[in-house]
């Protein structure tokens, strides 16, 4: 009985989660007439690829996709590299005046105010740096926003690695860096993967700063591009859905590829040998 109930809940939540995705996907394949059919056509309609053609050939969604990819991957890599080193230092070294703890909290506190507060200052800064409408602007901003997360998450993973292992590596003749790369990082690889997935998703989906900092076709990311199809005169549901459907794919593929690590990475303590 309880088993049946469990499955029922599972099915319900699955439907709730997947129905919008399914709806978007079907809209992207429907002609405009079918899109507005009443009652809505869940299954029986003639699929068409016209919206995909419209979005990626006639319009610039291909460009947006590339911009999104460059920005997401770029900022994820930056945040991971910087954040991992910071996290390692904070996890392993005790600084005078309790500085390591204070710095950690300070890093975390940068996530405590609503992001929108920084929108105007960032816009002005980027304008003065002549970085408006560039990918670099978005990479810098996303890196900054992902860093605290990377630092705190990776610090947790580093804390899980017994110090003995690094000390053994040092006594064996390795340098600090050598020990980090040869011993510690391989052990926190699952955590690194989980963190990477998170950063990538955040950067990929980000809308607010992309909207504020970029306006040109050449610098626009997918979320902004899609939202831009809502205009004064019409809402291009087909184009938006087609672009939305494509936008889901890379994250889905990446997350699936990392799934093996995700499970291990998110369950702490998994790195102990």
């Amino acid at each position: 009985m309880s088993r049946a109930l469990r499955y029922l809940l599972l099915v319900l939540s699955l439907v709730a989660a997947l129905a919008p995705v399914y709806w978007m996907f079907t809209i992207s394949l429907k002609s405009e007439v079918d899109q507005f059919a009443s009652p809505p056509a869940w299954f029986g309609f003639t699929p068409t690829l016209e919206h995909y053609y419209d979005a990626f050939v006639t319009r610039s969604f291909g460009e947006y996709l590339i911009t999104s990819a460059v920005v997401a991957v770029g900022s994820t890599l930056c945040a991971l590299v910087l954040g991992t080193f910071a996290a390692y230092a904070l996890a392993r070294f005790r600084l005078p005046y309790d500085l390591d703890r204070r710095v950690s909290l300070w890093i975390l506190s940068t996530r405590m105010f609503p992001a929108i507060v920084t929108a105007v200052p960032l816009f002005l800064m980027m304008r003065d740096l002549r970085l408006l409408n560039t990918k670099a602007a978005l990479i810098i901003v996303y890196t900054a926003f992902n860093l605290p997360f990377v630092v705190w998450m990776m610090r947790g993973f580093f804390d899980e690695v017994p110090r003995d292992l690094e000390e053994a590596a040092l006594v064996d003749g390795d340098s600090r860096m050598g020990a980090l790369f040869r011993v510690v990082l391989p052990l926190v690889a699952p955590g690194l993967a989980a963190t990477a997935v998170f950063c990538l998703i955040v950067s990929w989906n980000e809308f607010l700063f992309a909207l504020v900092l970029t306006q040109t076709d050449a610098s626009m990311t997918l979320p902004v591009g899609i939202a831009g199809r809502v205009t004064q005169y019409e809402i291009k549901w087909g184009v938006m859905s087609a672009a939305g459907a494509v936008a889901i794919v890379p994250i889905l593929v990446f997350a699936m590829a990392m799934q093996k690590y995700l499970v291990r990475g998110l369950s702490m303590g998994a790195v102990k040998g």
């Binding site: 000390e167 040092l170 006594v171 340098s175 011993v183």
Partner: protein
């Protein structure tokens, strides 16, 4: 290589963990740092390894002062209590790690790993990962990783404490043999006095950061420098009785022991359990006592005794039998007794 600690001090904040330690270890010696937990023995070892900074004093390896030499350049090998095997590497890779970071070529690495694996009989494990190994096997791998190169000294931090009793005794013997074969200076930290006695060429007994005595195992057992050393080394522990000496006789309540010493109002006598003989019948010059409890060990019997307010432990032959609360008589081997200043605990 010889190793020298010269007035070495280590403090963590206001807590002094190692206090003015001076120790000279000769080349090829097997020295055991012995003491209860918190006595500073592990910190001493970690300072030598460079894993802790030195607050004061100097440490030398050979003639080189190494206080400021980073760990990786000290050319020491260490076996950790946790073994600290790299979980993501195979056993072969684990053993080869010190060679890999020294950029030895692959063939030489493989050859050395094979040699040392043969020496420790772990050849069949080389392709496995540490988590697939038993405690004893991991212990061997940790040793192999230490001896795969020729360091200036081996440091061992309670390497046997995670093994079960039988294995511990076996590995103890093998360690001793190995060190004999290699002839490399070894510093070994333990709280187990049996390990210290069996392994060491010299034992350094420590207590609360201070060196109590540094001598051969036999001398430490037979001539303890103070009450702490006397009590810590030997199992079961030495018996202590506070009393006085009057007219060549040690007196405490009903206890009378003839001693060749001057009169004093206050002295502590120390008697090892094997120097108390227990009889079921009164003999010449014996002391009446009551059996508190007996423990059969198989090859001998420990007899816990009450004499007035004093509790004593005696080693009796295996066949000795006595009921709880039954009367027995003690003969004390007086010339084997130790004397300590009751106030300072120093041997006198």
């Amino acid at each position: 290589m010889s190793i020298k600690f010269k007035n070495v001090t280590k403090s963590f904040g206001d807590t002094c963990v190692v206090d003015d330690l001076s120790l000279e270890i000769d080349d090829g010696e097997f020295v055991v740092l012995l003491g209860p937990s918190g006595c500073g023995k592990t910190t001493t070892l970690r300072m030598l390894a460079g894993l802790e900074t030195v607050t004061g004093g100097d440490i030398f390896i050979g003639d080189e002062r190494i206080n400021d030499v980073p760990t990786q350049h000290r050319d020491l090998a260490m076996v950790f209590q946790s073994y600290a095997l790299y979980p993501h590497m195979t056993i072969a890779e684990n053993i080869a790690y010190p060679l890999r970071v020294r950029k030895l070529d692959k063939d030489e690495r493989a050859r050395r790993v094979k040699d040392v694996a043969a020496m420790l009989e772990i050849e069949s494990l080389l392709d496995r990962k540490p988590r697939q190994l038993s405690g004893g096997e991991r212990q061997r791998v940790a040793l192999a990783r230490a001896i795969v190169r020729e360091p200036r000294a081996y440091l061992m931090d309670e390497p046997l404490s995670n093994l079960d009793a039988r294995l511990r005794v076996q590995m103890r013997g093998e360690l001793k043999r190995l060190q004999h074969q290699l002839g490399t200076t070894t510093i070994y930290v333990t709280h187990d006095q049996a390990e210290a006695m069996t392994l060491a060429s010299r034992v350094a007994v420590m207590k609360r950061g201070r060196l109590q005595q540094f001598d051969t195992a036999l001398n430490i057992y037979n001539h303890p420098a103070n009450r702490f050393v006397a009590e810590f080394v030997g199992s079961p522990s030495m018996n202590f009785v506070d009393g006085k000496i009057d007219g060549g006789v040690f007196i405490c309540e009903s206890i009378r022991i003839p001693v060749a010493r001057e009169n004093t109002d206050q002295i502590t006598i120390g008697i090892r359990p094997e120097h108390i003989r227990v009889f079921n019948e009164p003999q010449n010059e014996t002391i009446a006592a009551t059996v508190y409890v007996t423990e059969l060990m198989g090859n001998e019997t420990f007899v816990f005794l009450s004499v007035g307010k004093n509790r004593l432990i005696a080693r009796a032959p295996a066949e000795f039998r006595a009921d709880v609360e039954s009367p027995v008589w003690l003969g004390i081997v007086a010339d084997k007794a130790h004397f300590f200043d009751t106030q300072t605990g120093l041997s006198i």
